[in-house]
């Protein structure tokens, strides 16, 4: 077990390096001179030359990468073009806003999907199964940004129950998730975020459960006189490792996929930051945000894998 954990942690390091390579490459694949991508359009020629020397952009690419990586490792991800503020601070502030609603959304989706999945698999092909499958298909197929717009029309415009956008007057500073007057701003983003993972997780739970229920050991359990509930507990325990892996994966997807939902609700998280970076072609901000999000995703996956091996001792990997 510990050997596996150690191996898994060591294997994460090259992945993180790979992530930095891709993030470094983003500036390279952007059309135009990299220095123009890193500078604001109003910068003078002297500024450009100074930055070119500072980044060592006259040197070969591998050297440039090492210089850039050195800066990143000490927390310097360059300056945002639009605000001329350090990217690192801006991204980390936004990241808190993203991860909190993503975690709430994914936990809600996990609990509901387990319930739905069990209900659907229990009488496979029945009316409940059909209804739940329909909801799941909707959750998977719906574009989140469109769902966001529809939620705004219903709950903000027509019913006036919830605020349409933003985080309230106080902004992200002093935002209290435990008080309703603040939390109501997060309700619609959470619903829009939770629906796609709910659909995906319900579907996987249902299909893996009904597969398990067809296996011989389930028949044995019934034969030895266990109640249907106890049989279900056995079956659910069998799919838990996969379900936990799915949970982690979905959390990661939400963090990365938040760009659309956060854009619709102008929720000041990393997704909103990405949208801003795209609109203003602020490449340093784009690069920094993506680096932080991808790193977070890798670490989440690491935790999930370790948790999975704890839950399911059968997991042995080559």
């Amino acid at each position: 077990m510990w050997l596996y954990a150690l191996r898994r942690i060591i294997l994460t390091i090259p992945i993180l390096f790979g992530v930095t390579v891709i993030c470094f490459a983003l500036v390279q694949i952007a059309p135009g001179d990299p220095i123009q991508n890193l500078l604001s359009p109003t910068a003078s020629q002297a500024d450009a030359e100074r930055l070119r020397a500072a980044y060592g952009l006259d040197k070969p690419l591998p050297v440039q990468y090492v210089i850039w990586l050195g800066k990143v490792l000490v927390g310097d991800m360059g300056m945002s073009i639009a605000n001329n503020t350090p990217v690192t601070g801006e991204v980390l502030r936004a990241f808190t806003n993203t991860i909190v609603i993503a975690m709430i959304a994914v936990v809600i989706a996990f609990i509901l999907s387990t319930i739905f999945g069990v209900a659907a698999a229990y009488r496979s092909g029945g009316l409940v199964d059909k209804a739940i499958t329909a909801v799941a298909v909707f959750g998977i197929s719906v574009p989140t940004f469109w769902l966001g717009v529809i939620l705004v029309i219903i709950f903000a415009v027509n019913l006036s129950w919830l605020p349409a956008t933003g985080m309230g007057a106080g902004g992200s500073k002093g935002f209290d998730y435990l008080s309703w007057s603040d939390f109501r701003f997060a309700v619609m983003p959470i619903i829009a975020l939770a629906l796609p993972p709910l659909g995906i997780m319900t579907r996987t739970t249902r299909s893996s459960l009904s597969e398990i229920l067809n296996q011989d050991f389930v028949q044995t359990l019934r034969a030895k006189g266990l109640s249907e509930f106890e049989v279900m507990v056995h079956a659910v325990r069998n799919i838990m490792p996969a379900a936990v892996a799915m949970l982690g994966l979905q959390l990661g997807y939400l963090i990365g996929g938040s760009v659309l939902v956060e854009t619709v609700f102008t929720w000041p998280g990393t997704g909103y930051l990405l949208n801003k970076a795209i609109l203003t072609r602020d490449i340093p901000l784009l690069q920094g945000t993506i680096l932080v999000l991808a790193t977070a995703f890798v670490l989440i996956n690491l935790v999930v894998d370790l948790a999975q091996s704890l839950i399911d001792p059968r997991i042995k990997r080559s």
Partner: protein, 300 residues
């Protein structure tokens, strides 16, 4: 007498043979699909959507690019505008028909390209195992370090908008998951007895790969790839929504949704139409891939 009994036993299977018709694998899949009306309906719907996109120039009642200041944001069914008009007074129905071309292209082409490339890498990685597997799958892991939307936004955001960049982005995003599915399926099949048996009889690696492995890997990979079509459509419309897809005058469902967002308070129904188009298309593709999954699962 014993001879007669033996003869009858020997003859019995021959006599009953016509009753138990042996079906091919795909014949069985078709038999199951034939009675799955939801899937059949969705296949018909997809064919309809594809045809209406292909024949958009003949079907569209108006020029999708002709704007009119006098008829901006008309409601559904206003005079000759069956689905109303957008914020520039262009006919929604015509734009919707033309927009389907881009969306369908974005759903199908990247998936096909990614299935070819990702599937190949996955089978090779799964079958050879060890160092080859390590090399391929660890490289894929780097891409898995990015959630799909994030990777798409990262590549697309750096490359800039445009239809070619969007297609390239989606293909790169879809390769790693297909590769992983193919790898998992292959490494499961690889350890099965019949593969061992084939190896023991002296079959070459190529022949094992093509006659035993590929057949068994194909259904999970194809079913998985078919689920990716709707994901690809949604990803593409998301990129267009962020302004990373086709450039503005071109009709595209995601872009239409984005530009109509400001008009949500004036014409909520008209503004929601492009989203409905995306939703219906993506549900249809999802249900078809569900049906395929069920039809191709021999156990079910």
């Amino acid at each position: 007498m014993t001879d007669a009994l033996a003869n009858s036993l020997a003859a019995a299977p021959v006599q009953s043979a016509p009753a138990a018709r042996v079906r091919s694998y795909w014949g069985g899949v078709w038999q199951r699909l034939r009675y799955d009306y939801v899937t059949l309906f969705c296949i018909a719907l997809i064919i309809l959507i594809v045809l209406s996109a292909v024949f958009a120039p003949w079907l569209a009642p108006f020029d999708p690019y002709k704007s009119s200041m006098a008829h901006r944001l008309r409601p559904i069914g206003y005079r000759q505008f069956l689905l109303g008009t957008d914020e520039q007074g262009r006919d929604m129905l015509s734009r919707l028909l033309y927009g389907g071309r881009v969306s369908l292209l974005m759903g199908i082409v990247p998936v096909l390209l990614a299935t070819l490339v990702g599937g190949m890498f996955g089978v090779v990685a799964g079958y050879y195992g060890r160092k080859v597997n390590m090399g391929i799958m660890r490289t894929m892991d780097i891409f898995f370090a990015f959630p799909s939307v994030l990777l798409a936004v990262a590549i697309s955001g750096s490359l800039g908008g445009g239809i070619t960049n969007q297609m390239l982005t989606l293909t790169v995003v879809l390769i790693p998951p297909i590769c992983r599915v193919a790898e998992t399926a292959t490494s499961q099949v690889r350890n099965m007895d019949f593969v061992d048996a084939a190896r023991a009889t002296g079959a070459s690696t190529t022949s094992i790969l093509f006659t035993h492995v590929l057949i068994n890997v194909m259904s999970p990979v194809l079913v998985y790839a078919s689920t990716l079509v709707s994901i690809s459509i949604i990803l593409a419309s998301g990129l267009s929504f962020l302004g990373l897809g086709v450039s503005p005058p071109t009709a595209d469902w995601g872009l239409m949704l984005s530009t109509l967002r400001q008009s949500i308070y004036v014409q909520p129904l008209v503004s929601a139409i492009p989203g409905v188009a995306i939703l219906v298309t993506s549900i249809a593709f999802n249900l078809v891939s569900d049906g395929l999954r069920q039809a191709m699962d021999v156990k079910a």
